[in-house]
């Protein structure tokens, strides 16, 4: 029953695996489940409008005991909601693919197509601020360390989950990557922006879902190629008219001009507006010949490409976090983001429930939620449920 091969990599790696007989965890789970049930009963139906072709999609659920159940299917949104209220999974996943038989084993499902999906995650941006707001939680005893250690000082276990509290720089960097991705999708790929749905993942990234019929039919290999385009990987000097010839190079002006796509981006970056043989020769020599030019292209591709996770995009059998479901790594909702500029992930994605509840903070922590900054010591606190849920899911607090 446990099959977590094709879910978000982070979900596998960063799940805190507390034995379910741990009394604190048992209590946390009971209260969280209650809060999640309230959400799926009250808030969820107000947020979600439709899941296109719901009966053709595969659903997967992670339980609070860390058991993954895949190959589920629902004929309507109402039936899905009823299931969520009854079973209260910690996380809900839905396939980007459509199948004739979504409940069958993978080889018998009969694949019909898949939405194009993208994942932009903080872990792929390698920001310098990361260390200042990241923590390492022992998967066994939940002990928290602000520095990376090899084994837990409390229980010697070597398995850790990395928990991060994204700062303003993190969010603005993520948004920049989303903007770059949108530029590729709209300008280069000609996709109508109404067919692109941007979501905050509920934790440390953004998810983009593209619903375009012609792209749904693409297999993995084609999606991998599409990903390389967006990542700016494998640009060849030949595409810019520079050909290798023994120890030197030749220049042939590109046949299709430099007005769009990666040629336009690259030439703009190199400060070239009109291309001539002499100019290209001069530039290539300046960069160190053919190989120097190739190195420069690799740098430009890296800088101008959008940092998507290619494994997510090329996987056509993935179950992806379902829009408007709760992310149990943060207690925040995977929320649609219509205006990237004004969207505030840690304001717009919180649960509504603000009933007060007691928690014990496990580790001193500074963070911002619903437009308020907090600086908590390791102490008992009476806080709104949405905040308690955030800290408990992050592993920084327990319910009392």
């Amino acid at each position: 029953m446990t099959n977590i091969n094709n879910i978000d990599v982070n979900d596998k790696e960063n799940r805190i695996n507390i034995p379910s007989d741990n009394p604190k965890q048992v209590k946390n789970n009971i209260i969280l489940k209650n809060g999640f049930r309230k959400f799926y009963f009250k808030e969820f139906p107000k947020k979600i409008i439709d899941i296109e072709n719901i009966s053709k999609r595969e659903f997967g659920f992670m339980s609070f005991d860390n058991v993954m159940q895949r190959h589920q299917s629902f004929s309507s949104l109402g039936r899905l909601q009823a299931y969520l209220i009854k079973e209260i999974p910690s996380d809900v996943y839905c396939s980007n693919s459509f199948y004739n038989f979504p409940t069958f084993p993978m080889q018998d499902k009969q694949w019909l197509g898949a939405d194009l999906i993208f994942d932009i995650d903080l872990k792929d941006l390698h920001l310098p601020c990361d260390k200042s707001h990241s923590y390492h939680i022992c998967k066994k005893c939940k002990n928290i360390s602000s520095i990376e250690i090899n084994s837990c000082i409390m229980c010697n276990d070597t398995r850790f989950s990395k928990i991060t509290f994204p700062c303003k720089i993190c969010i603005s960097s993520l948004k920049k990557e989303v903007e770059k991705l949108l530029d590729f999708l709209i300008v280069d790929f000609g996709i109508d922006k109404n067919s692109i749905h941007v979501f905050f993942s509920g934790n440390t990234g953004f998810h983009l879902h593209v619903n375009v019929q012609s792209l749904r039919e693409l297999y993995s290999q084609s999606r991998a190629d599409l990903s390389s385009y967006i990542l700016g990987k494998e640009l060849m000097p030949e595409f810019f008219g520079i050909r290798k010839q023994k120890d030197t190079f030749t220049v042939k002006i590109p046949y299709f001009g430099i007005d769009y796509g990666w040629r336009k981006r690259t030439f703009e970056k190199l400060g070239i507006d009109t291309v001539t043989k002499q100019r290209m020769s001069f530039l290539t020599n300046k960069l160190g010949g053919y190989y120097g030019f190739r190195t420069k292209l690799s740098e430009i591709g890296n800088e101008l490409g959008a940092r998507i996770d290619p494994m997510v995009t090329m996987d056509i059998h993935r179950i992806f976090r379902m829009p408007y479901s709760i992310n149990s790594k943060s207690g925040l909702i995977k929320t649609r983001c219509d205006n990237l500029d004004t969207f505030e992930p840690f304001n717009d994605s919180c649960l509504e429930d603000d009933s007060m509840i007691d928690i014990m903070i496990n580790y001193p922590i500074k963070f911002r939620l619903k437009n308020k900054s907090y600086n908590f010591d390791k102490t008992r606190k009476n806080v709104p449920f949405y905040l308690a849920c955030y800290l408990v899911c992050k592993g920084f607090a327990d319910f009392l």
Binding site: N5, F189, G190, L226, S228, F239, Y260, W262
Partner: protein
Amino acid sequence: MEINLGTGDLAKYPFLNEVSQYIRDTHFSLEEFDRPDMTHILERATNRIILEMDGTVYLELERYEVEVMTFLVSLVIVKNTAIESIIKKFSLYEAMRTEHFLKNDLKEYDEKRINLLLSKIFREIFKINIIKDNPTDKIFKMSIADYLSRSSQFHEREWKLINRSVNGGYVFLDVDETVRLIRNELSLLIYKRIKEMNLPVIPHSIQEKSDLLKTKFIPTQTKGISNRTINQYPPCVARSIDLMRKNENLPHSARFLVATYLLSIGKEIEEIVSVFKNAPDYNEKITMYQIEHLSGKKGNNTKYSVPSCSKLRTENLCFPDVFCNGITNPIQYKGKYANDSNNQSK
């Protein structure tokens, strides 16, 4: 004014629907090939097949009545051999012949004729909407989805989307590139035509030619690796080798898997090359070079690794069996197979 295909077009593109109509209209029957005046056509058809089996694209072009008949007889002779490797190779080389004519026509014809060919060949037969971007230039564009679903079969980096001019949902291509993209489909179209043919009675003259081809081009058995050994390979590798033995044109990713796997278990390069012998586009020199390159003996001395199971899954090349449980790379299969088989027999 409506522009119709000329007879010259029927000669060059004998798979067009208009040609089928022409043959129906002539009420031609296969028995007529036993007539002495048909010898010329029979000889032409046989030479065409022999040349293509030897790896040369047949580019002769006569008047359309001759070409259409030659094509038809070629199909019948090839079908009657019932040898898969001959059918596959013939289909591929006929596709390359079409490619040659189509490239020239799209470069030389006037605007209206170009649009007619785009409509008759690309749109009607292959359902690809190719648009001529600019009346003065020979630049074509096709949707990104159409492009990617074809280009992903090529492994050369120049076909990667990033090394293409892309804008507004379209990929811009010159004539040669546009035509090259449909080679596999052309080949498949001809292959299907052969397979779907119904031959109730075979005239003596055609039987003779088919027999000649059978003796001349009897398929090469894959040497060196026995069926028993292949059965112990991971199912992904075994399946690809099996398909290759059946003359399937495998994608680059599957060929890469087979070559890197066989290298990783210490097979000699010559032995690996022989595995690829039944591929319709097999060329010993190129195959040898590519395998030497993968082994690190040629090129930049990089020895390529066997792709991981997760990579193979994304490439739709993974067909797991019970021994695959818990492995992350096909190279771990052998040990698991030996271990689990021993345990089962205990």
